[in-house]
Symmetry: C2
Subunit: 176 residues, 2 copies
């Protein structure tokens, strides 16, 4: 192999190496980002879970279920409700049964479908949820107060970009 | 009440109102940010969960447990392991038993404490995990490829700021 050939081969090797390194760096950067995001989410969720229990004696899945119903005043079928839940680990039928006994939600028959029903918040359920939601919102503001207003906007935009890419590239349905 | 008094009172009311509005807006902005972050996290987690199952026939909690052990070559006690897990819903003792049967982890006695033991990856466990981790990292890179390199850096910085505020303002321990 001539000197030139050797130089070309070396150059090519370097380029391949650079590409591989860059790809490894990109992978590593994304993984770091994901782990940090996951870790923040887990921390906020754990804090909210513990405050909801201490302040309102309510579990996070139960709060989440009421939050989904509050956004859908016309009611949700169990399958829709289950898809929209943001936290895992709750037994949705069990929670619904409990809330129904406490008259905070009601099962309502669907017209023209004898076996189907939707779940709605009752007036008492809406009142109870609203009271908790105001406090919950203040907690979230406190937990995110490490960021300035503009930084929150930036982060929201970045997350929106992540989300819109996820919607096109994953097989699962959107959760929100 | 004189005209001036009325004007002052009106002015004061406006200021109070403005403050309340601003606080409501801030709360609302933080809540929007949190819900978007939670929704992205849930989407990524669901996608990874489904790919891990399809590709490696492994559950996310099991992958997570091996990932924590990989970061702690000296082994972890069950309590430490449980605190470090990033996903909920897994039965840690059950997963450990399974992995031990498959010779991917080992329970190792702690010197000078007859009842205590730590859990470690075996050599086979490390090899198996490494193979999965490389693929997992490529998935994460793909799922976050909606962001440019610089945007990922920005988001990492913003999340770090959120996390460091969370560490000072919550009662829970850090998860990562």
């Amino acid at each position: 192999m001539s000197k030139v050939e050797k130089a070309v081969a070396k150059q090519e090797n370097t380029q391949v190496y650079d590409l591989e390194t860059r790809s490894r760096d990109d992978h590593h950067q994304s993984l770091k980002l994901w782990l940090r995001m996951l870790s923040c989410t887990v921390m906020v969720e754990a804090e909210i879970r513990s405050r909801l229990r201490a302040e309102f004696d309510i579990t996070l899945p139960r709060f989440d279920l009421m939050a989904q119903l509050e956004r859908h005043p016309d009611g949700l079928r169990m399958g829709e409700l289950s898809k929209r839940m943001m936290v895992t680990g709750g037994n949705i039928t069990g929670i619904t049964d409990q809330l129904e006994q406490e008259k905070l939600v009601a099962r309502v028959a669907v017209a023209n479908d004898r076996r189907a029903y939707t779940v709605k918040l009752t007036a008492a359920g809406r009142r109870t949820f609203k009271r908790m939601a105001t406090v919950h919102e203040a907690w979230i503001a406190e937990l995110f107060s490490g960021l300035q207003h503009e930084q929150k906007n930036s982060m929201f935009e970045l997350l929106s970009q992540v989300k819109s890419h996820l919607s096109t590239s994953t097989t699962i349905e959107e959760e929100e």
